[in-house]
Symmetry: C2
Subunit: 250 residues, 2 copies
């Protein structure tokens, strides 16, 4: 048996957002590797082994997947959202680069998924409808000053911004600083979207003007989207629509 690794995106939570490409590869796998809550989303069946592991062991998990594929197993590494956006794909390739030479000959590919920012954007309208950036606010793997520099430059560029991992119990201060930086740099009332557990049954969406955004509105299950200076709100009965127009006048 020739082994392989597929790094597959399960989307933000709703199974109706899993692509047929990913569903198909899950039926072919002998082993599923991933963070506990993502592996829980996979139905077990005879011939399939589930390997769930805790957070922050992405390299161990990647090495395990690559070792199993070397032994002929058909391994799917599952990620939430899209595996290429702040998820498992980069971790697997870090492990490949640092690992034994024969890992480079393995059949490895990435299967895209619906990443959280695009699901959250869809739920509110089209806040990312024009130029935007995506920033991981966790400073576990990069210095805080780099995050702050990117925030200031993104505001100057007038990008809409999508923030992954805005806040955790072990990093309560970063999002406080993020909001401070943005309130000063933007100095307007552009909308901020807090989309928690997007597409799941307990989804919560909150839209507030930037000056009213407070750190407690986000946790690790929240996707935060900040509009550009051009982002608009359409009020109506029910949830407002937030969108960024396609054009910027001369």
């Amino acid at each position: 048996m020739t082994g392989w690794v597929r790094i597959a995106g399960l989307g933000p939570g709703d199974d109706a957002l899993i692509t047929p490409e990913v569903s198909d590869v899950l039926t072919q796998a002998t082993d599923i590797v991933g963070y506990i809550p993502y592996v829980k989303r996979i139905a077990n069946r005879p011939g399939l082994t589930l390997h769930a592991s805790d957070n922050r062991v992405e390299i161990d998990r990647s090495q395990h997947a690559l070792e199993m594929a070397s032994e002929g197993r058909k391994v799917v590494v599952v990620s939430s959202g899209d595996p290429g956006v702040f998820a498992m794909a980069a971790a697997v390739f870090e492990a490949v680069e640092a690992g034994p030479a024969h890992w480079r000959s393995l059949d490895i590919s990435v299967l895209p998924g619906i990443t959280a920012m695009l699901a959250a954007s869809a739920r509110c309208g089209a806040p990312l409808g024009h130029d935007f950036c995506a920033i991981n606010l966790s400073d576990n793997l990069k210095p805080w000053r780099l995050i702050e520099k990117r925030l200031r430059l993104a505001a100057e560029a007038d990008f809409a911004m999508a923030f992954y991992n805005p806040r955790s119990k072990s990093r309560p201060e970063g999002f406080v600083r993020t909001l401070d930086v943005l309130k000063h740099a933007c100095n307007d009332t552009r909308p901020v979207i807090f989309a928690r557990n997007v597409t799941r049954p307990d989804e919560q969406i909150r839209i507030v003007p930037l000056p009213d955004a407070t750190p407690d509105m986000a946790d690790m299950r929240t996707m935060v989207i900040v509009g550009s200076s051009r982002t608009r709100i359409i009020t109506r009965d029910g949830a407002p629509i937030v969108y960024t127009p396609r054009s910027t006048p001369e």
Copy 2:
């Protein structure tokens, strides 16, 4: 019959990347509205009317969809990729905001799809594996100087960059200038990915160091991804892997 509008993403080309949510809504539609090549992807059936229109008539097309929904039709506006990323969602909401008040009461929602940059990224590894930005290089709807400003700031922020609509016959000069700006601003050999017709049978992927990138490598069917200063290439037999590591050292 109560009408509605669904703005749905068909993904980059391969039908295995269309979400079940989108496939399901296509079976419920009475009318499909969209740009000719996207509408061609929809199988016709009794009870379904296909309304294909040319490029650059996004507002007319949006108004048509909203009018039909007001009359009780079930209308799917189809986009390539994700409708919220340089596609039809923003156009529909522009039409809603400028249109008659009763359009705001319509049942309108956006169904996300796999956007081209994430499909292209998956095909090459994980070049967008850390902080990145997405820029539409067309200056049809915004001044060129804003694009150039964003390019300079994105290079300074050390974002990986994904470029939509890099070049067309009517705008041959913009991508020439884009490469000039980046070569000066980045001044290194980071990889540039040209992904044409990604996930289609005639897909072509080309990876070159930034100094070797030339304008003729892109056209309107090409997604361009430029790495950050940290982006790496893993060489091996067959296609190399391009990825951006998750960490930036202090």
